[in-house]
Symmetry: C2
Amino acid sequence: MSEVRAKATLAQEAAAAMNKLTTEQKNTALSAMADALTAREEEIIAANADDLQRGRDNGTSTSLLDRLALNSERIAGIAEGLRQIVELPDPVGELLESFQRPNGMKVEKRRVPLGVIGMIYEARPNVTVDAAGLCLKTGNCVVLRGGSAALSSNRKIIEILKDAMKSTSLPVDAIQLIEDSDRASVNEMLKLNGLLDVVIPRGGAALIRNVVENATVPVIETGAGICHVFVDDTADMAMAADIAFNAKVQRPSVCNSIETLLVHRDIAESQLSALVKPMLEANVELRGCERAKSILGDIRSATDEDFSTEYNDYIINVKVVDGLDEALSHIRRYGTKHSECIVTETGGHAGRFLQEVDAAAVYHNVSTRFTDGFEFGFGAEIGISTQKLHARGPMGLPALTSTKYRITGNGQIRG
Amino acid sequence: MSEVRAKATLAQEAAAAMNKLTTEQKNTALSAMADALTAREEEIIAANADDLQRGRDNGTSTSLLDRLALNSERIAGIAEGLRQIVELPDPVGELLESFQRPNGMKVEKRRVPLGVIGMIYEARPNVTVDAAGLCLKTGNCVVLRGGSAALSSNRKIIEILKDAMKSTSLPVDAIQLIEDSDRASVNEMLKLNGLLDVVIPRGGAALIRNVVENATVPVIETGAGICHVFVDDTADMAMAADIAFNAKVQRPSVCNSIETLLVHRDIAESQLSALVKPMLEANVELRGCERAKSILGDIRSATDEDFSTEYNDYIINVKVVDGLDEALSHIRRYGTKHSECIVTETGGHAGRFLQEVDAAAVYHNVSTRFTDGFEFGFGAEIGISTQKLHARGPMGLPALTSTKYRITGNGQIRG
């Protein structure tokens, strides 16, 4: 049996025991795991040094090495993340519906764990702990397949987490780490119907596309964000400039930052230069439509491909539109249904935008950067879903649960 | 452009208009569609006669021909189904969460249509109307791909529905029928990410397997049911016999009927013959484990394959188990997580069964046959989900919706 199948089978066998745990048992274990990470930080740092050395030998970029690197402070932060998960309410067992039918049978719908969750992600070892913590808190088992660049770190982290679990009520088989770094191990996970209940990819566009295109196991897609801010003719222009700047510049590398600024033609001539001035000062590259170029001068033309690109960088497209309808149709064509914003003082336009834009999160006079589990008050998040089934937008703990109908009676049969 | 892509594109373009409709506009249209079906029943019956003739020419079985056949009474029933959908509450717009964050921004989570739903199903033309009605009521567009055996009937039904829509607020492009009977048209639908938001298969195991294995569009699986009744040692034996008989015999062809009866060893010797007597009288074939055979005499052995088969027929496996634990492990191994029942007077056993069995619906002293949207009081159902994501068990109208976060503020930016 392959490593993937063997470990997924162990996880599936542990699922029944996980399903029986109380919230207190799970929290006790998560706290012990957090303590173990800090107590054994030197072992983690040593294992991480192996990954970093291998990365340098392979010519890995400085920014990737930085995301891979662990030190005492980062390990403390990771452990603190686990303790925050302890503080979150446990969704498992929550009563969602309860009713009695005319024949006397009582029906309850309660939240239950999903079962076994497959996580496929890239090189950041903090995801290993985050994902394990969120899955265990919700009574799930988890099969982790992280990037091979972090394998030594992940192996040590999982060893420490499992050691800590041994003295708790949690079955140690509830966490599995796939060590096979061949891409075939990912593709095998994607077909493990019956052993994995869901696969969640976290990473770049290529990783997510591979999962969506090849998985037969149900997927929660945490996808790309081509997001927009539309500045309407009645916008408070200082607010609009602040929101556009924040949505582009505060952290360009994340999915809820914007790639395109749409501006109403009636205020473009008078306001566009002021709107983009803070971005220019922050060395953001502008690319414009013809009308924007005629106002802003010597900037590169924004092509169809530009409007379709998630830059994750200090680049923004600027497009002048005839009004709300053109803004809506541009977003419909190029948006990825993630986060979209209108800045306007016209209530009717805000209402239409919030109603008609098809996205996980639609904003009126608020930066798109708030599409985030912490910012919504959900605590830690497993990702931001860009699909429409099961969960949409920032996913808190309930997104890691399913439901079950429990029906009780005294001999009801169907006539 | 292929027929499938062209029609899915039309549906996607109609989605924005569908999303703006009021409940009253949708209900008015559905009522008009119901009226049109009865008013033009003769045209439907004539088109259906073509399908029936073709079926007879191709040697289609009598039972399949019966499922395909439409007459005045059946058309009235189909139209009545549409009118029942009118009566159901509209989930679109429902406020699911509402909170204000410390920075003052207000967050609302509301139900929204999924967008465009692809339905892939077999030869029953009533599904065409059901699916169209449920999808339109929830503000969705639908691309229908029914079995080729019903193509003439489906074509006429869709013509009538679209004619009726012309005098209403609904965009006629919201319903699309794929007429290409080549299987390649199904497989093309399964890959239409960006045009279809979800695919729902309804039909036999082979149809569902093809969809699950090949779809890159998210799928709601409405799958097989290998369901069990476990008769515990403290069961009320008259109740147990009634429930087992009902769960097997009342309608063996459906997914929530049972395939295996599990009986506690301590009451097997004294009660098993009485438990199965009503089934024998209804000409149900018994297949047994060794212990069951030693009590029941000359019946066929139940093999591993038998325990893994959804008979959908007058056949049942009988297995004597050592108690609750063996019943649970048998269900874990052979069940399809659909509907499972324990008959017992021991509260602790009922509690464990309801907690530990991983299925969409778990029953204590109630027949499994109630896993059904109508029986749960949801009204018409689009199917019974056997997956754990999005919807599980009977799917009423809310299963055909997604959610959207709407955030309003006065210039909030992220620090």
